[in-house]
């Protein structure tokens, strides 16, 4: 029973083919992308599956998920808005922006909206201090930057996602 292999057999084969037979464990990163793409997080079952595919221990896989901040081991919103509120961004109003956004969405940093569309997170430096307030959006299939933001522009973005969801 290996859900990942059943679901993405061909893609996983292609990934594994890129690594020498004795270095298969190096494929853990791309396999985690595949696992996370489905639900936006890596479940324990996924970790077991990857461990089995690469003949390493589940604990090894979990260590890697834990080390990288962009792998998640718990389900959250479809879109993760990651607002940088480090000092330079705060000087350009990132804290106020974060508060405003949270108020509007009715959540606290780290929480997900009841409709499951958005999770708001405060994160460390995203290397765009001069464009603050800014955030990155991590969705199931990638990451996008949104710079020089206002609460209004951010809310507009969220409304767009909600509409998208409503229309299926």
């Amino acid at each position: 029973m290996n859900h990942l292999r059943d679901q993405y057999g061909k893609e996983i084969e292609d990934v594994l083919a890129r690594y020498p037979e004795t270095q298969k464990r190096a494929a853990v990163m791309p396999l985690l992308y595949i696992a996370q793409r489905e639900d936006g997080y890596v479940s324990t079952q996924d970790m077991d599956d990857i461990a089995e595919l690469l003949a390493i221990s589940t604990t090894d896989v979990a260590s890697i998920v834990g080390f990288y901040t962009l792998y998640h081991d718990e389900q959250a919103g479809r879109y993760r808005i990651q607002v940088c509120n480090d000092l330079p961004c705060a000087l350009r109003g990132a804290d106020d922006f974060l508060d405003g956004l949270c108020d509007h969405l009715g959540v606290k940093p780290g929480e997900t909206t009841p409709d499951g569309v958005v999770t708001v997170e405060a994160v460390m430096c995203l290397a765009a201090c001069d464009k603050a307030p800014m955030f990155q959006v991590q969705s199931y299939d990638g990451i996008a930057y949104h710079e020089v933001q206002t609460v209004k522009s951010a809310v507009k973005l969220v409304d767009g996602w909600r509409k998208e969801k409503a229309s299926g």
Binding site: T44, M47, I56, S57, T58, T59, D60, V61, A62, S63, V65, G66, F67
Partner: protein, 846 residues
Amino acid sequence: MTEKIAVAVAENLINLTIDNREVSVPAGTLVVNAAKLAGIDIPVFCYHPKMEPVGMCRMCLVEIGRPAIDRASGKPLLNKDGSPQINFGPKLETGCTVPVSKGMVVRGYTEEVTEARKEVIEFLLTSHPLDCPICDKGGECPLQNLTMEHGPGQSRFIFDEKIDLAKNVPLGDLIFLDRERCIQCARCTRFQDEIVDDPVIGFSQRGRALEIITFSDPGFDSYWSGNTTDICPVGALTTTDFRFEARPWELQSHASICNHCSVGCNTTLNTRREAKSGGDEVIKRVMPRQNEQVNEIWICDKGRFAHHYTESPDRLTQPLIRKGDALEPATWDEALQLVGDKFKKSKGKFAALAGGRLTNEDFFNIQQVTAKLGGKALLDSQMAGGEMVAQVGVGQGTNLSDLRAGDVVLVIASDLEEEAPLHWLRIKQAAERGAQLIVANPRRTKLDQVAHRLIRYEYGQEAAVVHAMLDSFSPKRPDQPASVKQLLRDESVKAAAEDVQSATNLIVFYGSEGLDVAGSHTLASACANLLIATGHVGRSNNGLVAVWDKGNAQGAWDAGFATSVNLADDLAAAPNLYIVGADPVGDRPDLAETFEAAEFVVVQELFLTKTAQMADVVLPVLPYTEREGTYTNAERRVQRFYPAISPRPGARADFAIAAQIGLALGLELESKLASLAFEQLAARLPAYKDLTYGKLAETFEQWPIIGREDLYYGGTTYDNTQGLGVQPPSGAERGESPALSFEALTDPEKRKGLLAVPVTRLYDLGLTVTTSEILATHWEQPHIVLSPADAEKLGLELGAQATIKLNNMQSPVAARIDNRVPKGVVLVPRSVGLHIFGPAPIEVGA
């Protein structure tokens, strides 16, 4: 300095200066180790001399200077006074990651270094709870000691910003984690990964949030987990066995030898007299004791945790004599009188059966009694070949740590991590150092992962594999069966034979996987012949090693015991039986008839076993923890253990009882001092000539230096101050020509149904394991292991209940499915209550 270190030094010296002292060490030595060799301590937390350096904790920061070289001429630049000019780097360097170089100058005493150490300690303590008064490590804690020595005494961090973390996290059944105490040195995770290849714990998150996790199921479940608590430099990892049990400074230490398997790990038993045990001395924990030639600084969890039988209230403390149907308490005088009278009349109708956990002194005295009565001295074991190991076993000075490229190790018919964990570990390390490892087994085992060559054969072809190797480079024997001829065409066998021929040193380990006693004998003989034919006997790092089932099986063979090929017949032939440290009826219910029919049965035991219940006289004995003695390990090393706690009143040591019985037979055997019994033994057995308790207690300095005041360096493993043991010369070294037959082979019988084969599991249901409740969840329940194909055919799913019929006994078992098991074969573990003594037909029903 030890002999060994001195030899290494002679090879390739590097001269350097550490703290104004001239030091000469081998090239490649790390600065911390060079300092240690010179008696200078550079404090460390994450560095451990048995593991690769990682430079994580920064505690070992020192000033390192190197001679300045003129770029144009390539010559060293000199100061005005003619001394070499030394360039110090702009920053401190970690002494644990920097190898020594010529002319290097290391300074660990400067203000800058002192300040750095202060700051590192301050950082490590930012969120450490400083709960030393309730911490099990308190008193033997590297963090505590180094904080006292190098710490600032005060912290600039705000107390309220300390992070509260979970303090009682069970990582598994045996190990608890206190997250607050962890200083993130990664010794435990590196040990599990690098040393024992069982990476079931790891790090998650990073920075301050870094924490130890396990995602394995079931948790931190490793045969090696206890060792992580020894090398943990803080109180983050503790064992469920010792947690909250005692303070280290209250403990007494007693040198001992583990007798669970034949590796003979050196241990220290920590004891304490305590109120909760009614003022009795109790063993609080078992710790490894350094012997770099045997177990280095490690022990397996069975050795560490399966010690509780000593304190069992069920132990016998009074001789029992059968009166009608019941066994009734009697005095020692009555019991010995009766046994003496009966044995005197039993001449020629007598047999002794002894278990492999007895000491050399016990075996010797029992053998003398048996010889006097003209009986057979039988060893209760599933293996044979000890007489061959005595002849062509590994030579004096053998150390598995010396094996390297050019040397060959052949392991045949053994699941080594289950049968002898430390042998597995040390052979794995030899293979990693470059020794050629050949693993021959019908199914995949953990050792395969590091093997260079794998030979797969069918159960029943064990000896045929070795014969085929022999035949491939020597004149073919005409009478070989088809299986040998077929294996001769096997590429892996051919290649292995070539390895063996070109080996500098060759050690052959044979185990008991899938074998009965006769099969074991045939395999041992084939292996011995292979060693002789290739000239690999009679010298160090060459020879035969039996992976015995019990700690002192080799000692039994040396004293004249032999395993019976047909135990039932041998016992039935002797109406007077002397059973010592063995429970044949418990192991094989079919022997009950033999014991019912026997005239007179004496059982010497710790517990009232099934056999003891059928005895005429039961004599209570002392466990090895309450007496002294010697064991001979699989590598023929004779090792001495010391009493750890006072003997329980009423019980006596086995050798003493045998001597007292001997008295009635006119034998003068030592009944009081084990050392004198050993003297008698040494005078009679050529293999033990010139050995004395004094010699066995000798030690020499070992590397790494461990377990002294500087606990931070190697952990809480004990320094060996009471004896490294002696490997006496083997028969071949004494110039005896091995009297070996060449056992003719036959092909395994063609069979229709399934074949059951015995396998060994570390945590079986032996009495020493089941008396340790702490291992309860690890006890192997009766089960069988099938190949997926067979399981499907039988309609069995993983974990399903099945019924087996094996050797006329029906038993319910759980079915396990494993694709490593060959089709048509059913693995049946030994010592879990199933009726398996060798390969046998089995019926499996859903």
